[in-house]
């Protein structure tokens, strides 16, 4: 392999580049990223960066002395992939010839139709988004967060600490139920009300009101919640439109194996855009978590360099963390397959718990709130069991 192109210059792309060099790949390495920034860390964008305790320099994912011998094409978007000709098409009409391609284009925040052009309405995915939101929050006022998922909850928590008046609106009856199940979703999302942040559940959003600037969030039950700032945190969709004409198998992202190999030879997909086959779960899943975007590229690069001649190992169970209202939330595994959940340590009322999810008696997932030590033990055990 003489040229490898990595599309997407964020965590998964950088991890792929590092893995290529670590595994001895010595050829040309081109990294294409549509943002102008060097790779930066997104988790602090809804936490310390938004709160103002971490600056832009500290978000950098690269170290100062790092030399990956890559050509960085930043501010450049990939617009197409011609597999037969081994060519990547780029915005501005440029092309790159590459015999290996790593797709690491991540995901983009979903927006609320009809909110375009209304001042005071934000999504949060990029550094530019976070700068804009931080500036607005610094002026204070009434914030309404639409969506009680992890990003929405973190923004609510950070804004509460900054002294804003915060309401969270969630269409589902229980926030986080999709990721954590009903019981633990209710316990974790009660952190909002513990701190006097209003939580409106089980009611959809009809739209926003305001002339040039938003002034309220209109609910489907007819109520309107006054708002100076609105954050739309209703999930993300994979950035794969640019691959539509390439013939690659797409299905909720780029469909790929446990080792990231796609339907096209010499092309692997990693990070938030990859819908990979999880041998533990027995189906494809797209996981939008930091640790997967950092760790899984190494398996994909091994497969790319070996031309698929290596057996993929069984990946560790997916893991994510979240920080809300000073509580460290950690989760590993897969809650959806569980038939029971029990609190093994701590107490729900104290919002300090270690909960284990089981299917037919076997642990399939674990949740910790401020329980890093016990959580790690369970996570290790979960990785060791072959379910």
């Amino acid at each position: 392999m003489r040229t490898v192109a990595v599309v997407g210059a964020s965590l998964a792309g950088l991890s792929a580049v590092r893995s290529l060099r670590k595994r001895g790949y010595d050829g040309r390495l081109v990294v294409v990223g549509d943002e102008l920034h060097r790779p930066y860390d997104r988790p602090p964008l809804s936490k310390e960066f938004l709160a103002g305790t971490v600056g832009e320099a500290e978000l950098a994912l690269e170290t100062d002395d790092e030399d990956l011998r890559a050509e960085w094409l930043l501010g450049v978007r990939a617009t197409g992939l011609d597999h037969a000709a081994r060519t990547l098409r780029l915005s501005g009409g440029r092309e790159v010839q590459a015999d290996g391609v790593v797709i690491a284009t991540g995901a983009a925040a979903r927006t609320l139709p009809g909110s375009e052009g209304l001042a005071g309405v934000h999504t949060l995915r990029t550094l530019d988004d976070a700068r804009a939101l931080r500036d607005e929050l610094s002026r204070g006022g009434r914030l309404v967060v639409i969506g009680g998922g992890f990003i929405g909850a973190e923004v609510a928590s950070t804004a509460y600490a900054l002294g804003l008046d915060v309401t969270v609106v969630e269409a589902a009856p229980t926030p986080l139920a999709g990721a954590l199940g009903e019981t633990m979703g209710a316990i974790v999302s009660a952190l909002h009300t513990d701190h006097g942040v209003r939580l409106e559940c089980g009611v959809g959003v009809k739209g926003l009101s305001g002339e040039a600037r938003v002034d309220a969030v209109l609910l489907e039950d007819g109520r309107g919640i006054p708002a100076d700032i609105v954050v739309v945190g209703v999930g993300a969709r994979p950035n794969v439109e640019w691959l539509e004409a390439s013939g690659i198998a797409l299905d909720n992202g780029v469909k790929c194996g446990a080792d990231g190999r796609t339907s096209l030879a010499g092309v692997v997909a990693v990070g938030d855009c990859a819908n990979w086959y999880d041998p533990r779960a027995g189906f494809h899943r797209r996981v939008e978590h930091w640790t997967g975007a950092r760790e899984r590229p190494d398996a994909a690069i091994a497969a790319l360099l070996a031309g698929g001649a290596v057996e993929p190992g069984v990946p560790r169970p997916p893991y994510f963390w979240s920080d809300q209202y000073g509580v460290k939330i950690q989760f590993a595994g897969h809650a959806a397959g569980a038939d029971s959940v029990t609190i093994e340590a701590g107490a729900a009322d104290d919002r300090d718990v270690l909960a284990v999810y089981r299917r037919a008696g076997d642990p399939v997932a674990v949740l910790g709130m401020n329980q890093p030590r016990l959580f790690t033990r369970w996570r290790k055990q979960l990785a060791a069991t072959a379910s």
């Binding site: 991890s15 590092r18 860390d41 988790p43 305790t53 971490v54 500290e58 994912l61 170290t63 930091w290 640790t291 950092r294 760790e295 893991y319 963390w321 460290k328 950690q330 890093p372 030590r373 959580f375 790690t376 996570r379 290790k380």
Partner: protein
């Protein structure tokens, strides 16, 4: 400075023992029976590496999974960027002692800020 940690028989393989000094230091007993001491606080944020995932000669931070090499203190990948200090371990008469490094520690920004501002 030599600091007594704990008795060797009280620290099973695969476990860590934290010394609550400032900054805290932890002794790790690997599955291969080796002993190592490093600064306990991750260089990224306020996490205790004694709570982490010990495998071979590496400990993975319990929060964001950067791995530190117990022999050298080196970190493998982000989000942590700086190594942790390593300390010498001495066992005498079944007792584990730590000889503290005289290097400056690499504490995470949140802790350095607290230390600079005096006790909270």
């Amino acid at each position: 400075m030599m600091i007594p940690a704990c008795r060797l028989e009280d620290l099973p393989q695969g476990e860590a023992h934290r010394l609550n000094i400032d900054p805290p230091v932890s002794v790790f007993h690997t599955d291969d029976g080796e002993l190592f001491a490093i600064d306990d606080t991750c260089t990224h944020q306020d996490a205790s590496l004694a709570d982490g995932w010990l495998e071979g000669c590496e400990v993975e931070c319990p929060l964001h999974a950067s791995k530190f090499d117990l022999r050298t203190g080196a970190v493998d990948a982000p989000p942590a960027k700086l190594p942790v200090r390593t300390h010498e371990v001495v066992v005498e008469d079944g007792m584990i002692y730590v000889r503290l490094s005289t290097d400056a520690p690499n504490l995470p920004p949140c802790i350095s800020a607290r230390l600079a501002g005096g006790p909270a």
